[in-house]
């Protein structure tokens, strides 16, 4: 295995038990995964556990990777679910200051890309920015991280009902913000 191989090739090698391929994959993906996990949980110990669990799961289950998906998104999907199960039964993690907003788990369609570009430059970003940290976290986990309400509730350490309520409020507030922002 050489550093020129793409992720899908490395994953196939990992499925055959090639440790060197696992290491290459780790060197490529662990840095960004660790930062992204860190923004959702500011406990180093938990992040180290989740990161290692993720790659152990990759080692044992690399054969389950479907070659049509984006490997990076597949890895994040494993990592964020590991994070949820690691946090299960624990008190809710401290809300992390700027970790409030979050990215995307599944492969992004280009349309979504544009929406997200809008998040930064457009009114949507302003609208999101105005949300209270709890509401923003709810939007982040469900819409941007692509988690189900059950998973998102676990990640945030709140009951599902509370999460659904926050989501409704967040939608309403954003609608208002966008409408009022659109009128000069």
């Amino acid at each position: 295995m050489s550093p020129d191989h793409d992720d899908a090739t490395l994953l196939r090698a990992v499925a055959r038990g090639d440790e060197a391929a696992l290491r290459l994959l780790y060197d490529r993906h662990a840095p960004w995964l660790s930062i992204r996990l860190r923004r959702r949980c500011n406990d180093e110990e938990v992040v180290a556990d989740v990161l290692s669990d993720t790659f152990v799961a990759v080692w044992r289950g690399a054969g389950r990777y479907r070659s049509d998906g984006e490997p990076a998104a597949w890895l994040w999907g494993i990592a964020v679910r590991r994070l949820i199960s690691r946090l299960r039964g624990r008190p809710a993690p401290e809300p992390h200051s700027a970790a409030a907003l979050d990215g995307h788990a599944e492969p992004l369609a280009s349309a979504e890309d544009q929406v997200l570009a809008g998040v930064e430059y457009g009114d949507l970003g302003t609208a999101l920015g105005r949300l209270s940290p709890e509401l923003r976290a709810a939007v982040q986990a469900t819409i941007l991280d692509g988690l189900s309400t059950r998973e998102a509730a676990r990640l945030l350490g709140i009951p599902q009902g509370t999460l659904k309520g926050r989501l409704r409020r967040a939608k309403a507030e954003m609608r208002t913000a966008l409408v009022s922002g659109a009128t000069p």
Binding site: A30, P31, W59, A98, L101, G103, L108, V119
Partner: protein, 274 residues
Amino acid sequence: MSVRGGHADEALLLRYRDDACDPATAASVEAHLPTCEACRARLAGLGRAPVVDVAWGRVVAAIGTPEPSPAVRLMRRMGLSEADATLLRAARSLDGSWTIATIAVVAFAALAAIDGGSSGRALYLLVAPLLPVIGVVVAFSSSDSLADLISATPYPKARLALLRTAAVCAASVPLVIAFGAAVPPIGWLAVGWLMPALALTTLTLAAMTWIRPATAGGAAGALWLLIVAAAFATDDVGAAVASGPALGYALVSAVAAACLTVRLKSAHEPGGPR
């Protein structure tokens, strides 16, 4: 400024990494990263957080460590330390197939006694104390080819011997008692075998400081076979473990244990180099 031409520049990635950009910007970086190899590589190039190396160490340990056997897993849950569990990994008589074989043998011996015949009870009594003995022999002989190497390590060998013996007994004794107790004709023999088992095991351990584990175990087995056969010939198998002989077993255990202690003190280990 930041996400230009669809890519994140180094300055932005640095702010993202250090948690110094506003939520909306961070969101767009996170949306971008899973789709862009170049930006991920640029981010990785900014240096590795210590957590990345710590986690890699755990990955290697996890994929490099075979699942412990059910017996060791159970002992681990009951408080066996991680280091001790690691030591027991080399003992074959604690692996899953060994446990299954033990269950099969003891089940066969116990079932043979179900009709209350004396030959069935004799079989149970013959087999019961030998299971821990064989377990100990195998636990030590699997390290036979490593004997030189192990003896040159600073680990206290007396503790190693005790650990192995205790683990093997913990894995076999309850099984043998349970099967014996489940078959009524076996009666008090279900616990009666414990004294001779103690004597035979300590005797084997002491003998293993002189001779090969298999030889020591074979000798102990032959001795026990003679005792059971003699009792069987008198039509009372129970006589082999009656109070009189039991006293003898206690005495033998004490002498063998004392002998073993002396041998260990003079650095002769069971299963050690010869």
